[in-house]
Symmetry: C2
């Protein structure tokens, strides 16, 4: 089969999934959750092939870990699918509606996109996640999961396709183009009219390639150079746990803190209070010259301000005032998440108004920018673009809308 045939088959399979009611989609998801468990040995066998190849190719320990599926992790994948069953169906949700003066009834309702494409790297859990989210939102999905996980993804998709066929849907509704390597990804980016929206997930490099090369509309899920500004009125008893939580609770993810900005009037007190917690958490501070005068730290260079560490490193800059903090954020932020710690309502309001990011916070940990924490129940990714979806994306963000217009013979005057 050619890539184009796969894409066309996915498009043809999409309407039936789009029209399926919630009960039918949930029954399909239940089949998939069960099939993942009953096929776990087969999945692990395929995964072993990928792991052996990855080891031979010198993949890093971190990548090998993300690639690995165990009985326990497969159980986790099945549980994630079952959690999606419990979520409300976004399809058919009324977004807006009104009756016009002439009696025409307008209703804007959510409808599936049609075919969702996802390009990602070496994380077999994304295969199951995106397939389940696509099914629940009535979409077909075409997946390109990276050559490192090719054998694992092949088995996962074949398990899902068996369930689709068993539930009376076309198997092609969830397809992979992994076997075509990079050509598969290129074909997806060219597939105007076949793929309705493309979501890249993975490294900044992968995302940039897709965003700039794709002719299909893309939802950009970007990296996070996340800032936290401690103003002069901040409450130190709140500040220390928020900073440590923002940085250290899970440093490898996009909503973790990278740069701490501190008002000069509170810098000495704050940094003194922070030191024990920083040492305790194993955080390495990269400090500006003023920070260097107050605490032991690695001298920060300009490159630090533009770095998403994704590790227990933290750059710290002392600023003269809020203007300087906002300028720094405006220059270096990736528009993901920014937080202010303040007891001043005026400063909080100014920060909320002026910072142009997907999530802007007052007195909370930056780790809260998360679909699960927002109550979405599942997360497709975190959008850092401004079109269609911004911030954590749940099932609703995998839908478009349609205007239903009901009349009784009206014509336009």
């Amino acid at each position: 089969m050619s890539v184009t045939t796969i894409l066309q088959s996915a498009k043809q399979a999409a309407p039936a999934l789009g029209r399926a009611n919630t009960k039918q989609k949930n029954e399909l998801l239940a089949l998939i959750a069960d099939a993942l468990e009953t096929n776990s040995n087969r999945i692990i066998e395929a995964n072993q092939v990928d792991l052996a190849k990855g080891t031979a190719n010198g993949l890093t320990k971190g990548l090998l870990d993300r690639l690995t599926l165990t009985q326990e992790r497969i159980q986790g994948l099945a549980s994630a699918v079952r959690e999606i069953i419990a979520l409300p169906d976004p399809v058919g949700e009324l977004v807006r509606g009104r009756t016009l003066a002439n009696g025409i009834r307008l209703a804007q309702v959510r409808v599936p996109f049609g075919v969702v494409g996802c390009i990602y790297e070496a994380r077999p859990n994304v295969t199951v996640d995106i397939a389940a989210l696509a099914i629940k939102s009535g979409n077909a999905a075409v997946l390109r999961g990276g050559s490192a996980a090719e054998q694992t993804n092949k088995v996962l998709v074949s398990v899902i396709q068996s369930c689709l066929a068993g539930a009376g849907f076309e198997a092609a509704a969830i397809s992979t183009v992994d076997e075509y390597g990079r050509d598969g990804a290129v074909a997806m980016m060219q597939a105007r009219g076949l793929i309705d929206v493309l979501i890249p997930r993975g490294s900044a490099n992968l995302i940039q390639t897709v965003v700039t090369e794709s002719k299909v509309p893309v939802i950009e899920t970007g990296d996070g150079i996340v800032h936290l500004f401690v103003d002069e009125s901040a409450d130190l008893e709140k500040a220390v746990p928020i900073i440590i939580n923002s940085k250290a609770q899970r440093p490898s993810v996009c909503n973790s803190l990278e740069t701490l900005l501190v008002h000069e009037a509170i810098a000495q007190d704050l940094l003194e209070s922070l030191i024990p917690a920083i040492l305790d958490a194993g955080i390495t501070v990269h400090g500006c010259w003023r920070t260097q005068e107050l605490i032991d730290c690695v001298p920060a260079t300009d490159a630090d301000w533009a770095t998403e560490y994704l590790s227990l490193d933290l750059s710290v800059k002392i600023v003269a005032n809020m203007d300087e903090a906002l300028e720094h954020i405006s220059r270096y932020s990736t528009h993901h998440t920014e937080s202010i710690l303040t007891e001043s309502i005026a400063n909080a309001d100014r920060f909320l108004l002026e910072v142009d990011s997907a999530a802007v916070m007052v007195n909370t940990s930056t780790r809260f920018t998360d679909g699960g924490e927002f109550g979405f129940g599942a997360e497709v990714g975190i959008s850092t673009q401004k079109m269609h979806a911004r911030g954590p994306m749940g099932l609703a963000e995998l839908t478009s809308t349609k205007w239903l217009i009901r009349g009784d013979g009206q014509i336009r005057g």
Copy 2:
């Protein structure tokens, strides 16, 4: 000044407009409406230069007409700006909000995109329209209006820029790159990070170029091969006026009817009832072979089904059943507007569910797919894509959103 400087200046000017309150923006719009009127002679002078050039270059009568500004039309532009003053400000509108179990208050509010780009052709009214809509929604705008209207647009933008400066905003907030010709358009399509969203308005050719070449996110405003299906249960007394209104009320626009699909059981009755109205309206029917057996008409070829006439031509096809109608629509529709005329609730529901278009109608004229008719008060265009906006776009569609997250020391467990 280079194109890049213009784009950078627009980006720098955007935040002040984004933060301006409704009163400030409305005062600016009132200044612009007045200035259009007081500068009407200057505008008409520049317009005469464009018209003379257009005549020399052999522009069609239609294009010359769209290019022409008269005192009356300038008065119309000023009135349109004043109507935008009266519309609600979309910025700050609460989209969703909730308080999480941990006490964090989440609010998703509308915020301006930042910089909106518009690429269009030889319609100076779009210059004023987009500028006013951008200002009301807190956005800066960069405009590329086509060489045919270059002198007119230059004066219009300079009038608007004087008003911006007079109201304390940076003049660069509304800018044109017309002087750079095609290079200006190319620079806009490359301007990731400077332009947040690009809206092409004009010919199918222009839109296709922008959609496939742009590296900036695009909202596609497409053409309409609009279908109307008359099923066997349709009420002929409603059907005739709806069909004539859909086709003939304003045939040159995207929501006018192009293809009439008729169930075979009602074909003879319907076409007989239609003939006098068709003759009266001056409509030319391009009929399928079965239509040719019933009425005098031009034989339709396959090309007719794929043609947006934008004239008093109408293709007519007799179908055996609703399946055939839906298949025809699925094959030839541009996903703009489709309508069914029926008295059967089952057929209406099936049509509303299965037709995948921005607007799907029952028993109304297709001409109702319109921002004004929907009560939006102003229309940026009609989106035929599925991301961000679908169907008529008002001020809300010129905004993104931002999550405001207010806490009191919460950290993630």
